[in-house]
């Protein structure tokens, strides 16, 4: 079989074959490592938003909409961020598997490790206040609002004293119009004798949660107004 060596070497020389450049293999490995890193960082951001939204879930109000805490949690979980986190972890897993050493690790270990790393980063981002900035920037986006529609709808029970919606018009110091998740316009009124709402909190497209009662057809009197997903009170009836 000396022929085999001769045949192969002749083919190599005849076709002017040369070994592919080392950079090509190094870069492929490096690229997958970078993608994994991006997936984990993004997973960390998603986790931080999950933590932020659950911490600021207005737990003091839940009994107004349901008696069952478990049901409340299921209704208000941030599904968009949970699904995104899952997809990012899977993306990270795929990238890790394609690195040179990726095959050495069991799939479950890679997934759990990636999830743990994202969770740790998420906690760090949350602790350092990065998440509030992100949520603020996203809150005004119609796309983001649509993605969080189930959460908004879960809270929207005007008959039970809670109204949620997007600020679409400021009529005066004592009333404004919200577009609710079911695409209806509601006027929200506050006491004319009490304090007004600071204008910096009333920006168009802000998502608000109003605690109060119905006073007429699509008219709601506010006792309390909060920025949704933030629990920040911007108005409290005296």
């Amino acid at each position: 079989m000396k022929d085999l060596e001769k045949r192969v070497l002749e083919k190599i020389e005849g076709s002017h074959m040369r070994p592919r450049g080392r950079w090509r293999f190094l870069w492929k490995n490096r690229l997958f490592q970078i993608i994994y890193f991006i997936a984990i960082i993004s997973g960390g951001l998603a986790t931080s938003l999950i933590i932020y939204l659950m911490v600021n879930n207005d737990w003091d109000l839940y009994q107004q909409i349901t008696d069952n805490l478990f049901n409340f949690i299921i209704l208000t979980l941030p599904y968009f961020w949970l699904i995104l986190l899952l997809l990012l972890v899977l993306w990270g897993y795929y990238s890790f598997k394609n690195t040179d050493a990726g095959y050495r690790y069991q799939p479950l270990k890679i997934l759990l490790f990636s999830l743990a790393l994202s969770a740790l980063l998420g906690l760090i981002f949350f602790k350092f206040g990065l998440t509030e900035n992100i949520e603020d920037r996203l809150a005004g986006s119609a796309v983001y609002q649509n993605l969080n529609l189930t959460r908004a709808l879960a809270w929207h029970h005007p008959e039970k004293g809670i109204l949620t919606g997007r600020l679409i018009k400021i009529e005066n110091d004592y009333s404004f119009i919200l577009e609710t998740p079911d695409k209806k316009d509601w006027r929200v009124e506050i006491e004319k004798t009490g304090p007004t709402i600071a204008r910096e909190h009333l920006r168009l497209n802000n998502q608000l949660k109003v605690v109060g009662y119905i006073t007429g057809a699509n008219i709601f009197r506010a006792n309390e107004i909060r920025i949704i997903n933030n629990s920040k009170k911007i108005y409290q009836k005296q």
């Binding site: 192969v8 070994p19 592919r20 069991q106």
Partner: protein
């Protein structure tokens, strides 16, 4: 061509490095691995000897083209076995023909296999060898290949992991399951042990 005997003191990894600058060194690697790889290809695939030689040639060409991808942290043999394995898998997906498999079932290899079972009495070696051949032919490729690598090629679990690009734990599980499958196939062929 360089005489392989002149470089017998150099390990595969050094020869591979030299091959990047001088293809004749690659010839030495081919001489060292051609028999082992041809035998391996024939054992895990259901192809003729002629097809196996073609596959072997493709393996060596691929190995040459990808020499710069060889990671010195691995053994060279694991790396080139991996290329041969991938070529067989690619060929298997393209041509799913069934041809009889040929195994060298020397008494040493049979003994190695049987030592893994509680076979206190192995009476008829030739009958046993024939039963093992039938049993292997009936097994899935993923089980057959780990048995071949472990008992014929005498690779350890780490090497098998590097060749098949599977975690160590998975290799261990595959070997265990392969032995169980082999035992089941042997029972089907009325071999009692």
């Amino acid at each position: 061509m360089l005489d392989p005997a002149d470089y017998s003191n150099l390990n595969d990894e050094i020869i591979a490095e030299k091959s990047l600058k001088n293809t004749e060194f690659f010839g030495i690697l081919m001489t060292r691995y051609k028999s082992k790889l041809l035998s391996y290809i024939l054992k895990i695939s259901d192809i003729t000897a002629a097809e196996a030689e073609d596959l072997l040639q493709d393996t060596f060409i691929k190995a040459y083209l990808n020499l710069n991808s060889f990671n010195p942290q691995l053994k060279f043999s694991s790396w080139i076995y991996r290329i041969a394995h991938n070529e067989v898998i690619n060929h298997y997906h393209k041509n799913k023909n069934k041809v009889s498999l040929d195994y060298n079932l020397s008494p040493e290899i049979v003994a190695r296999l049987i030592n893994n079972y509680d076979a206190g009495r192995v009476l008829d070696q030739s009958y046993l060898a024939e039963s093992i051949k039938k049993a292997l032919a009936a097994m899935d490729l993923k089980y057959r290949e780990v048995l071949i690598l472990k008992f014929w090629e005498e690779k350890d679990y780490q090497e098998i992991s590097d060749i098949l690009k599977k975690p160590l734990g998975t290799v261990s599980t595959l070997v265990s399951r392969a032995k169980i499958r082999l035992a089941e196939e042997l029972k089907k062929n009325n071999f009692k042990y």
